[in-house]
Amino acid sequence: MTVEPFIGLSALLFAIGAIGVLVRRNAIVVFMCVELMLNACNLSFVTFARAHGNLDGQVAAFFVMVVAAAEVVVGLAIIVSIFRTRRSASVDDASLLKL
């Protein structure tokens, strides 16, 4: 089993996820796209682990999952609390970074 198709698929998923982050306005969907990108990375890790014949890549993927879980928890909490005050889950509405 070669590795190139896996890596290519991983790249493709990553790019799709990135486009989604940039295009979608619903914060939850944006979040899902971020997850998509993380998973694409995980696929690469696992593939490279196999290619190199050691388990370090899998460990990295494992850590990514842990961190992603933590991130999702906090991120969704933030979305909920923002929604509670602004009645909107659109990322464009939170444009307070602008002067």
Binding site: V21, V91, D92, S95, L97, K98, L99
Partner: protein, 651 residues
């Protein structure tokens, strides 16, 4: 010129002078400066100007009294100095430390010696007479209090100059007289020409001051001191080139203050000031400061033949230059101003001759102070009677109407042309003799100058006091009041008897400790030279008589004249040269610098600012406040990073 051995001998001779500490009368010499300085301060910053307070009514009396008091102190000091031993005639008194920076120590001191004493007498004596005269001359001027304040300021500054024991203190007085001169030339500041002339005098003097300042800096750099006496001691150990550089720099300063070529152009314009100012500053005292500087720095000039030759050349050129201008001017004051330049040229010439000439330079300076002040004041008296008309072509036949002015002016006239027996005869004769003894060409220039002097002074005399009356209709010439004629009489008397100073070589002996002395034997007996001089003077006077007394004088200056006359009327194109060589290129330079500054430097600065501003305005569009835009930017950055890494790896 003289041989080296005699130079070194002469130099060491007056370096032997050891100043003694002042005591008794001499410890009061600071009053010389203090009295007029305090008076000037009272007159200038006393109660509000122009409000007809007591100072406005009696201020001129205060100023005159201050000048006379200073003169009295000067006389007392002089008498006391006469009573001293010859070895103890250089008296110094340290007043306070002016500045102390590391090893650099400037003491504010009074240095009173034979040379200073003579200058003090001249300045305060002639100054007092001119103060008295001004009481009459400026009687109707609403700002005469200020005028007398300026005169006092000038006297004080000039006395600081001649009593300084340190070149830096001398420079203080030097700048002080420059300031007073500026203020007095521009006294009638409402006249544009006066304001311009004042500025011109100030600026041209700055050029000379630069030379003096550089000279003082060089002294400090070389010797670590600016004390005149110590510099004189140190310079004998210095190299020839240092002495030459010092001499030339001091000469530049002297040229500026004494209106010598090439810095002569301000003196003629300075006649815009009131006539007493012309008499006091631009004839009798301030313009002699350059001569004083050269004589005072004798120790330096003794060591550098180049510097002395430069002084001689400057003196000769100015001597003829001033005489030439004096011949061409119709304005009585400008003719006298040309004559002043010429006579100071004589003094410079004499000073450039070294120990052989210093004493004669001072001698001529003193007699010139008498007769030139006399003539300027006489001219002022004439103008006073002629409604301030200065054109000699509008005078004529005034001898009957102004007998006192005529007689006193005639005394001055006889003195300046060197009529035997009058003071100028002795002083000029000595200079020409010394010049011939040292250098034939310098002597020839001096001799020629004597003839030309006789010519133009006779012309002034004839145009003013003899011939037909050519007055305007509304002019009623009259003799001036006593307050103006009495100083004239005193000065005329001094012009006549001033030559007595040289009897039995008194002045040479008196000044020898300061200047050293040296005698050159002429190839011919002295009386032969004297006869030649008298003959030349007679020729000049006769020529003037033929040209001006025998013919009608046109009311306006004829335009069809020789190229020499035209050049003389244009001040020998001094202003034109200054304009062409300094002013125009300077203007072009400043204009182009302004252009470069405006387009190049400002352009770069504003261009950079605009570039940044435009860039910021463009980049601002990226700052939309939408998080997705920022995400896109981050993503773009990541892409660039990946591409960069690829480029690095593939390269």
């Amino acid at each position: 010129m003289t041989s080296m051995s005699s130079i070194v001998l002469a130099a060491s001779e007056h370096a032997d002078v050891v100043p003694v500490a002042a005591d008794g009368v001499f410890s009061w010499m600071w009053l010389l400066v203090a009295i007029p300085a305090v008076s000037a301060a009272i007159l200038l910053i006393g109660d509000g100007a122009g409000d007809h307070g007591p100072l406005d009514r009696f201020g001129h009396l205060l100023g005159t009294a201050a000048a006379i008091a200073s003169f009295v102190v000067g006389v007392v000091g002089f008498v006391a100095l006469l009573g001293q031993d010859v070895a103890e005639r250089a008296v110094t008194q340290d007043l306070w430390t002016w500045m102390q920076v590391g090893g650099f120590d400037v003491t504010m001191s009074v240095y009173y010696d034979q040379l200073s004493a003579l200058f003090v007498l001249l300045i305060t004596g002639v100054g007092s007479l001119i103060h008295v005269y001004s009481i009459g001359y400026m009687a109707h001027d609403p700002r005469k209090r200020r005028f007398f304040g300026f005169l006092n300021l000038f006297i004080a500054a000039m006395l600081v100059l001649v009593l300084a024991g340190d070149y830096l203190v001398l420079f203080l007085g030097w700048e002080g007289v420059g300031l007073a001169s500026y203020l007095l030339i521009g006294f009638w500041q409402e006249k544009r020409s006066a304001a311009v002339a004042a500025k011109k005098a100030f600026i041209v003097n700055r050029v000379g001051d630069l030379g003096l300042a550089l000279g003082i800096m060089l002294m400090f750099a070389q010797f670590g001191t600016t004390n005149i006496h110590e510099v004189g001691l140190n310079v004998t150990n210095a190299s020839q080139s240092v002495a030459t550089a010092l001499g030339l720099l001091l000469l530049l300063g002297a040229c500026g203050k004494s209106a010598q070529v090439p810095l002569q152009s301000w003196l003629l314009d300075a006649m815009e000031g009131p006539t007493p100012v012309s008499a006091l500053i631009h004839a009798a005292t301030m313009v002699t400061a350059g001569v004083y500087l050269v004589v005072r720095s004798a120790a330096i000039y003794d060591l550098s033949e180049v510097a002395r030759t430069a002084v001689v050349i400057v003196g000769c050129v100015t001597l003829l230059f001033g005489a030439w201008i004096g011949c061409a001017k119709d304005d009585i004051k400008k003719a006298l101003a040309g004559s002043t330049m010429s006579q100071i040229g004589y003094m410079m010439l004499a000073a450039g001759l070294g120990p052989a000439g210093y004493a004669f330079a001072i001698f001529h300076l003193i007699t010139h102070g008498f007769f030139k002040a006399n003539m300027f004041l006489g001219a002022g008296s004439v103008m006073h009677g002629m409604n301030d008309d200065v054109d000699m072509r509008h005078y004529g036949a005034l001898r009957k109407l102004m007998p006192l002015t005529f007689i006193t002016f005639a005394m001055g006239y006889l003195a300046i042309i060197g009529f035997p027996g009058f003071s100028g005869f002795f002083s000029k004769d000595r200079i020409i003799e010394s010049a011939f003894a040292t250098n034939f060409w310098a002597g020839l220039a001096a001799l020629l100058g004597a003839g030309v002097t006789a010519f133009y002074m006779t012309r002034v005399m004839i145009l003013t006091f003899f011939g037909e009356r050519r007055w305007r209709e509304d002019v009623h010439p009259h003799e001036s009041p006593k307050i103006m004629t009495v100083p004239l009489i005193v000065l005329a008397a001094l012009s006549v008897v001033g030559g007595a100073l040289t009897f039995s070589d008194w002045i040479e002996d008196w000044l020898t400790p300061v200047t050293g002395s040296e005698h050159h034997e002429l190839g011919v007996p002295a009386w032969v030279i004297t006869l030649i001089i008298v003959a030349v003077v007679a020729v000049g006077a006769s020529l003037a008589y033929v040209l001006f007394a025998r013919r009608d004088v046109p009311d306006t200056a004829p335009q069809q004249v020789s190229v020499f006359t035209r050049a003389g009327r244009a001040d020998l194109y001094g202003d034109a040269v200054n304009e062409a060589v300094f002013m125009r290129p300077g203007q072009y330079l400043t204009r182009s610098l302004v252009y470069v500054d405006g387009t190049g430097i400002d352009g770069a600065v504003t261009g950079t600012a605009e570039l940044v501003g435009d860039g910021a305005r463009g980049l601002r569009r990226l700052q939309t406040g939408f998080v997705r835009t920022y995400a896109a930017e981050i993503f773009g950055g990541a892409l660039v990073l990946v591409l960069a890494l690829l480029a690095v790896n593939l390269a």
